[in-house]
Amino acid sequence: MDVDFSNEQQAFRDEVRTWLAENAPREARPHGGTEMREHDLAWQHTQSKAGWAGISWPKEYGGRGGSVLEQLIWFEEYGRAGLPTMDSCFVGLSHAGPTLMACAREDQKEFHLPPILAGDVIWCQGFSEPGSGSDLASLSVRGEVDGDDIVVNGQKIWTSYADLADWQELLVRTNRSGKKHDGITWLICDMRSPGITIRPIETIDGGTDFCEVFYDDVRIPRSNVVGEIDRGWGVAMSTLSFERGTAFTASQVKLARTVEDLIAATQDRVDARGRALVDDDGLRRRLATVRAEVASLRSLTYLMVSKSAKGAIPGPEGSIVKLYYSELQQKVARLGMDILGADSLKFIDAGHRGGWSGYFLHTFSSTIGGGTSEIQRNIIGDRVLGLPR
């Protein structure tokens, strides 16, 4: 065992840190609209030009093909620089792109992959529906083959950045006769197609990143099917993860900084009885506990990355990190509310949208989005522990 990085890795880290310090956007990221789109694409473009785009993409698709340790270092530095980890280029780079690499035809790859990397296009995801949340395979948006087109009708929900996107990875039901996992087709949907209506959803932290998408006789060319008609579930499940255990690294680094900020915030605050918060044994224990837990979250990531570096293919254990991270984030947010007291009630638009109270509200999503904690526990129980279903 060893927690030191090699000289080569240290040099890589220095290079990343320097480059990010010199090239990361200096202006605050806009909260939405075309300004956000332009901002995110410009930043992706900058990374691409400098050879940092697709740090985890294989070289054959134009990515950097970094080793898993380089990825870890990149994401650590990315988080340390305070850059957003789930910007509007995220779906293209981390989900749609990898799926296309795994399952698409050569012409589809050639057409779609380079613009994702270059920062020319934004992708969004059309998976969830109002009636199909945890039970994704029960989706019911209809796709009917009509000549060379598939005609799509229905509604998707929780589509991040649908209003900014050029393309969508879209799951539709093309066959109702068999089991629910059969009869699903994976489509590339042009978001400018006639018949698409997009309605942003306001979330409790004041964000509007999520959208509902309505499809009214939207015609998608059959040539945009990835894989085969009715075989889309397999395509969706085959999505390669190139993160190899590093997916939450940048978020963890940010969480660690948030904890340090909270510790600092106790230094000059007093409670309602006029006593310094820094002398409050109860708060001290809660702060120490989350500081230790954030450290162990990093250790857990390092352990998974170490396994990846030895060639292990990360499996459902990734859910352990997701579960732990999301509940820890909520715990930290709650602790901050208690430390800030009456000040926590102000919804101030500084740093994070809505200030600390906005962050607090935002963290309610972390145990829901990307699979609820209940579903994560099922996955770990069934697939890691092998418990009976």
């Binding site: 949340g133 409790i204 309602a272 007291g341 000040d343 926590s344 009630l345 609820t372 526990r377």
Partner: protein, 341 residues
């Protein structure tokens, strides 16, 4: 000994719930989000006209002559319905005016012709200096309110809002509660009454609102667990959901029981009424906080949207939790007021 509300008390609750949901429905909070006052004049007028503000006040100032229990039944519905604006602070203002002998002012608050918001000093105040306001203040619903109540464990009093210039509005986490900042430099409080009578009333009525919130969240979660289907069955069949609903029930029931116990102890002037009130506030705050979070989680993605009212329970629990003394202060009081009898 009888902790079951009487039929009269249940009628108060029913009437209050009906009126509040009619004149200030939850959906109105979002609509008025950018208005300077959280509650509309017409809603305020209807509530006052129905006599809700005077339930616990004597007949001679226009009240209904009932006790803390009846106010408890009212404010439990205020919490459940997420009713906006300075209802509780105005009721407390009326009591403060009455206790200090200003029956005319009490009558104005009871009639709703004057409103009172809340001011809380963010700096520690000496016991001796309690009747004077100093330093940074946080204000609740000062907009539209001529007066502000100041409630501490040492005493309670009033101050006129315009004595606290400059007032700065703060964007509030809760669309049903307006917040503001102000600064005071040796501003004396009027209608000062030493002692913690008003503080205890505030604790019980805050607890009542929090119990209403905890119950509303439990009800919403249980309904959703019965109706929302995934994997071909209602999600409530899953123990992860079912047991969460049960934990919400245990929390709400214990909080309700302790609330009733505290209200009856106060009305009966029992020696440990102070302890029971602080305990009620602590238990209710934990129940509201836990249940509000669980309700969102059980609603999944929908729970995270502005459209769904779940977040309003969260933010009301937070704003209420800071308004009249903190949960921390009540915890400390639970330990220092002596064992329950």
């Amino acid at each position: 000994m009888d902790l079951v509300p009487s039929d009269d008390q249940l009628s108060i609750a029913e009437a209050a719930a009906e009126l509040l949901s009619a004149v200030a429905p939850t959906a109105s909070l979002a609509r008025r989000r950018d208005d300077s006052v959280a509650i509309s004049d017409s809603a305020w007028g209807s509530i006052a006209e129905a006599g809700l503000l005077g339930i616990g006040l004597p007949d001679r100032v226009g009240g209904a002559d009932a006790g803390m229990q009846e106010e408890t039944m009212l404010f439990r519905e205020v919490g459940r319905q997420l009713a906006p604006g300075p209802l509780l602070s105005t009721v407390l203002a009326a009591h403060i005016a009455l206790d200090s002998g200003d029956e005319a002012l009490a009558a104005e608050f009871a009639a709703g012709s004057l409103r009172a918001g809340t001011a809380r000093s963010l700096q520690h105040t000496d016991h001796d200096a309690a009747a004077v306001l100093n330093g940074e203040l946080m204000l609740w619903d000062s907009t539209g309110s001529t007066w502000l109540v100041v409630v501490t464990a040492d005493g309670a009093g009033l101050v006129q809002t315009d004595q606290l210039l400059p007032l700065r509005p703060e964007r509030s986490i809760d669309p049903g509660t307006r917040l503001g900042s102000a600064f005071a430099n040796d501003v004396p409080l009027s209608h000062w009454t030493p002692g913690d009578t008003t503080c205890i009333r505030a604790l019980v009525l805050v607890a009542a609102q929090l119990v209403g919130i905890a119950e509303a969240c439990r009800d919403a979660a249980v309904t959703h667990a019965k109706t929302r289907e995934q994997f071909g069955r209602p999600i409530g069949v899953n123990q992860a959901i079912k047991h969460a609903c049960v934990d919400m029930t245990v929390a709400a029931e214990q909080a309700r029981a302790q609330l009733f116990f505290a209200a009856a102890s106060c009305d009966g002037d029992l020696p440990d009424a102070r302890f029971q009130a602080h305990a009620a506030r602590v238990i209710a705050a934990n129940a509201a906080r836990d249940n509000a979070a669980k309700n969102i989680q059980i609603h999944g993605g929908m729970g995270f949207t502005m459209e769904f009212e779940g977040h309003l329970h969260v933010v009301r629990t937070e704003t209420l939790g800071q308004q009249f003394g903190t949960n921390e202060a009540s915890l400390e009081a639970v330990l220092t007021t002596g064992a329950p009898q």
